[in-house]
């Protein structure tokens, strides 16, 4: 083959590769770092792909706050978020076409085995944070306006504490990075249980406070009004709230962690 033809062939191949990733059937899903870090999408998306071979899902894993802002700007078709107050505002402002519950899990407060602030076994998350603050034990905050960060601030508010000082570390990173940092610093942090379990082997952290109703973590799926791929967004929402996907969600984690990480609740709310 003459070099010129080879060059043209190469160009055509590159073009084909590039264009198949930007086809009109792509669904942009803005989601949260906690659902990405736990590995849920790796388990779910292949099943969606089998059910809808025409669509491709591109997951943008960011904090819930950013996920909603992306959607507001029209940069996402569908959102999976866990920041109920921010979602309420988003829907009230008319940015969303529909909102449906998908699943829930819970937040836990984790910390070093030594537990210098003595919060182990407390049922009330707010009083646990109050103890951490009064003993100035190091606490790593997401500090990134994510759903987890929003919940953490709510619990601080319930504790009547304004966290400031060198013990309060504002990381500005995703859940996985914050857990690694808390482990290194032997600090406390608030995390969703899924991300904690998926990283547990690398962490020198243990669950100290759990079970407070204030720590329930509800995920919802939102179809963005006027989405570029509105049909795809609706198809994804129908799929993830239907029994087969809900069953997959309920089974996720059983094999790897020996326990259920998310409880599907699309049927109820």
């Amino acid at each position: 083959m003459p070099p010129a033809d080879r060059f043209k062939l190469a160009l055509a191949l590159i073009f084909a590769l590039v264009s198949c990733s930007t086809g009109t059937h792509e669904i942009v899903l803005a989601s949260t770092t906690s659902s990405e870090d736990s590995g849920l999408f790796e388990a779910l998306l292949p099943a969606f792909q089998r059910a809808h071979p025409d669509y491709r899902v591109r997951v943008i894993a960011v904090g819930s706050g950013e996920a909603l802002r992306l959607a507001e700007r029209g940069d996402a078709d569908v959102v999976l978020a866990h920041s109920p107050r921010a979602e309420e505002k988003f829907m009230a402002a008319g940015h969303g076409e529909s909102q449906r519950p998908v699943m829930f899990n819970d937040f836990v407060i984790v910390g070093p085995e030594a537990d210098g602030a003595a919060i182990r076994g407390l049922r009330d998350a707010a009083s646990a944070l109050a103890r951490i603050a009064s003993s100035s034990a190091p606490f790593v905050s997401r500090g990134d306006d994510s759903g987890t960060h929003a919940r953490e601030r709510e619990v601080w508010a319930a504790a009547g504490v304004r966290p400031t000082g060198s013990w309060y570390v504002e990381a500005g990173q995703g859940m996985g990075a914050v857990l690694m940092m808390a482990s290194e610093k032997q600090a406390y942090t608030l995390t969703d249980r899924g991300t904690y379990l998926s990283l547990r082997d690398q962490l020198l952290l243990t669950v100290l406070v759990e079970g407070d109703p204030a720590l329930r973590n509800q995920y919802s799926v939102i179809v963005v009004r006027g989405a570029v791929n509105l049909e795809g967004a609706r198809a994804f929402t129908r799929w993830i709230t239907a029994p087969p996907a809900q069953k997959l969600i309920g089974e996720f984690g059983l094999e790897r962690f020996g326990r259920q990480l998310f409880t599907p609740n699309a049927g109820r709310s």
Binding site: E66, E170, A171, G172, Q173, M181, S183, E184
Partner: protein, 238 residues
Amino acid sequence: MDVLLEGLREALGLLLSGDPYLWQIIARSLQVSGGAVILGLLVGIPLGTWLGLARFPGRGLAVALVNTGLALPPVVVGLFVYVLLSRQGPLGGLGWLYTPSAMIAAQFVLAAPYVAAITLAAVGSVPPELRLQARALGASRWQALLLHLREARLSLMAAVAAGFGAVISEVGAVMMVGGNVRGETRVITTAIILETRRGRFATAMALGLILLAIAFAANAFITRVQQAQPRRRRPLTS
């Protein structure tokens, strides 16, 4: 378009109002990258000078290694420094992870090859007769070497600028080993990522403008040095 223009206007306002959050981040960036470049000079200048003047077997390989250092991916450097400094790592006892010290260490690894490579090129470009003449006129080996370095000083300053420009705009390594902690290890690049994610475009743009200004200053300096050099050398050979 509105987002862009409004963001830029707000960004200028923030910079001019002396917003403490912004200026603290800028100061930390200058401190970390400046520290890394100074350490890079301490190692890179001797190494580059030696490689530029000495002749020994395997020198070609050593030069190639230094030049490869120019292309070290920051995330890979970040990964290795992270593993070294983490609790379970060999240097975990230092307690450096997530502190500016760790960031300086990582950026030092990135900056030193810049300084070494440019020093190497600079000392190689000074005519060797200069040193021979100096020796003939009675200078000691060290005096001759210092004279040689003096002739190459503009290029050495370019080495500083190039190294600084490279590390201050680097984000992978500082994010990993520094952790982007507010008030402690948050620098211009990591702050831009976070503020963009939070939708605070004005703050992100203000930091972006500063970073552009720093990169521009560094490169303007390098360009000037490069253009000035041929004119400087003529009187030497006469």
